[in-house]
Amino acid sequence: MDFEFLIDNKLRKISLEKKDNIFIVSDGDRTFKADIHFISPNSVSILIEGHSFQVYFARDKEKQYLSLGGQQFIVQEPLESEEGYEEGEVKPKEDKLVITAPMPGKVIKINVTEKEEVRRNQTLAIVEAMKMENELKSSIDGFVKKIFVSTGELVDSEKPLIELGLKK
């Protein structure tokens, strides 16, 4: 069976076929046997040519978190919007003109007002979570087009806070 995953935001393909309790894995031009067993609901043991690997995983909605060899991976099924991306291509970054909350937290200060001119590296707002303040800075010389939040508001990750406009 062929599988397509986004692993750490890169698109990869792999094929797994079950044959006499052993799996035949095809990854690109490599084909090899793997002996795979569930150890617990959150872990599998993989034996490949006598080498032993332990993989831990947990699922949260569409995301699958994995840990192996002390490193973490995030694996997702490709979303519809990802169609058309070539294998190995990285998802494009979001438009930097909209400043979003970097993590869930609380807006503790908004340093600018709408229509105000801003300069590169100027602090626009401060979001606090877990007692640490995070300053959100402008990456451009421009002006404040719109402010979507107010001081004291709780915001979720990726929530748009401020929209900037390029200098006319």
Binding site: L16, V44, D60, N134
Partner: protein, 502 residues
């Protein structure tokens, strides 16, 4: 002996204290905010009371509600842990007034050492070396400005009320002074409810070396040697160890003696830590007294064999110290790594959310003080510390190897943690050589990106994901109930009965 203790804290330290109480046969009361109903400390305590909404200021920092909970449950004593109200003299005084034992120093000593400015004056008078800096809180910005020029840049903004790096800022020139003061005040206010800050000379490339002290109510004082906590990020300790590689036996003895003197001139009782900065030329300066059990206390416990939380409770119960200075010895080497909910690959942004899976490291010489579990929530409201991984071994070298092994064995899925960074810190050649200074992280890790993922590990992750998907498909098409997403062993067991013989 005290019979019932209210633990006025959350997370791993509340768990640590509850365990100590259980060992001593003491009943425990947990208090919790609305965000913490499912927390580990609530599950573990004998009794649990909700004391208010999620923001700490309305729950864990609310003195009235905690005192009320204490009376309501009949607890005789309060253990404040670290952070929150642990070093709040008003809280300690209130406990004294209400006939509740505060497991910590008396309120007078707490007020003195908690006031960093006043304690500096006291230490100066007692001939204890201190760092040049302000001796009182400035009235306005112009006074801060004048003081900063007198001390000479770089200067450090420090919160009068607290520790743990909250409210601290290094200021390299006068242009940054105002914004740094403001940020420091805001952070101090939010962390300790007190916005007082002061300035002090910033000593570059120092080591942070602190001494653990115990003082009973009868004037007996012992120190339990040092902890070196030079590995810090944003002034927050991330790795601690003992013994320090920088101390000779003579210097250790001298600093230990000074630490005891600090405690004595402050009229301090119970467990406390005397922090020093050690400069390149092995001069040491008194920094402050941490009037609480510290995050890093386990490394002292593992090398001296003394349970510090037990001792705190015994001292508060009115017991005499069971040992004398000469009976306390350091054995082997211990290292602690703090596990923070922060994303080391993305500017250390706090990482809240659900812990989907936790696998704790285990093995000889490995201790894990932990406040989380598989399925728990990490709220945005509190300190990002999740757990502490502590190892002990005969030598520093083996302790480092053991720590790496344990970190590799440690799995937390669902939120980001600092585990990857910690591995590279312990493995760093300069760390291995014991060349640890407080600028270590800035110097060697400012460009840190983590290890590249190998083609092999990516392939294994894909195989595991494919295997998972395949299994789910089989379950769905195999005529069994279309199951939830996760694999369940019950689906594959067939017919079974609890205790059944057939």
């Amino acid at each position: 002996m005290i019979k019932k203790i209210l633990v006025a804290n959350r997370g791993e330290i509340a768990v640590r204290v509850i365990k100590a109480c259980q060992e001593l046969g003491i009943q425990t009361v947990a208090v919790y905010s609305e965000a913490d109903r499912r927390s580990l400390h609530v599950q573990m305590a004998d009794e649990a009371l909700c004391i208010g909404p999620a923001p700490a200021i309305e729950s864990y920092l609310d003195i009235d509600r905690i005192i009320h909970a204490c009376h309501q449950t009949g607890a005789e004593a309060i253990h404040p842990g670290y952070g929150f109200l642990a070093e709040n003299a008003e809280f300690a005084r209130r406990c004294e007034k209400e006939n509740i034992i505060f497991i910590g120093p008396n309120s007078k000593a707490l007020k003195l050492v908690g006031d960093k400015v006043r304690s500096r004056q006291t230490m100066e008078k007692a001939d204890i070396p201190i760092i040049p800096g302000m001796k009182r809180i400035a009235k306005d910005f112009s006074e801060y400005k004048k003081e900063s020029q007198k001390i000479g840049f770089p200067v450090m903004v420090k919160a009068s009320a607290g520790g743990g790096g909250k409210g601290m800022r290094i200021v390299y020139d006068s242009k940054e002074l105002k914004s740094s003061l403001e940020a420091g005040m805001r952070e101090a206010k939010s962390a300790f409810g007190d916005e007082s800050v002061y300035l002090e000379k910033y000593i570059e490339e120092p080591r942070h070396v602190e001494f653990q002290v115990l003082a009973d109510n009868f004037g007996n004082t012992v120190h339990l040697f040092e902890r070196e906590c030079s590995i810090q990020r944003r002034h927050q300790k991330i790795v601690e160890e003992t013994p320090s590689q920088a101390l000779s036996p003579e210097l250790r003895a001298k600093m230990g003696k000074t630490a005891k003197k600090v405690i004595q001139v402050s009229g301090y009782n119970n467990a406390g830590t005397v922090e020093f900065l050690l400069d390149k030329n092995k001069n040491f300066y008194f920094l402050e007294v941490n009037a609480r059990i510290q995050v890093e206390h386990p490394v002292t416990e593992l090398t001296t064999g003394v349970d510090l939380v037990h001792q705190q409770i015994m001292i508060a119960s009115g017991e005499k110290l069971p040992f004398k200075q000469e009976q306390i010895e350091q054995k082997g080497h211990s290292i602690e790594c703090r596990i923070y909910a922060e994303d080391p690959f993305n500017n250390f942004l706090p990482s809240s959310g659900k812990v989907l899976f936790l696998k704790e490291p285990k093995g000889p010489g490995v201790r894990h003080d932990c406040g989380i579990f598989s399925g728990c929530d990490v709220p945005i409201y509190y300190d990002p510390i999740l757990a502490k991984l502590i190892v002990w071994a005969e030598s520093r070298e083996i302790a480092c190897d053991r720590m790496i092994n344990a970190l590799n064995d440690y799995v937390i899925l669902g939120i980001n943690t600092t585990i990857d960074l910690l591995k590279d810190v312990i493995n760093h050649p300069q760390f291995r050589k014991g060349r640890t200074t407080t600028d270590f992280i800035n110097k060697y890790f400012s460009e840190w990106k983590g290890r590249e993922k190998t083609e092999e590990s990516l392939r294994l992750a894909l195989i595991a994901s494919a295997f998972n998907s395949l299994n789910q498909t089989e379950v769905r098409t195999g005529g069994v109930v279309p199951q939830k997403e996760t694999y369940s062993p019950w689906q594959t067991l067939g017919k079974w009965r609890i205790g059944g013989k057939e």
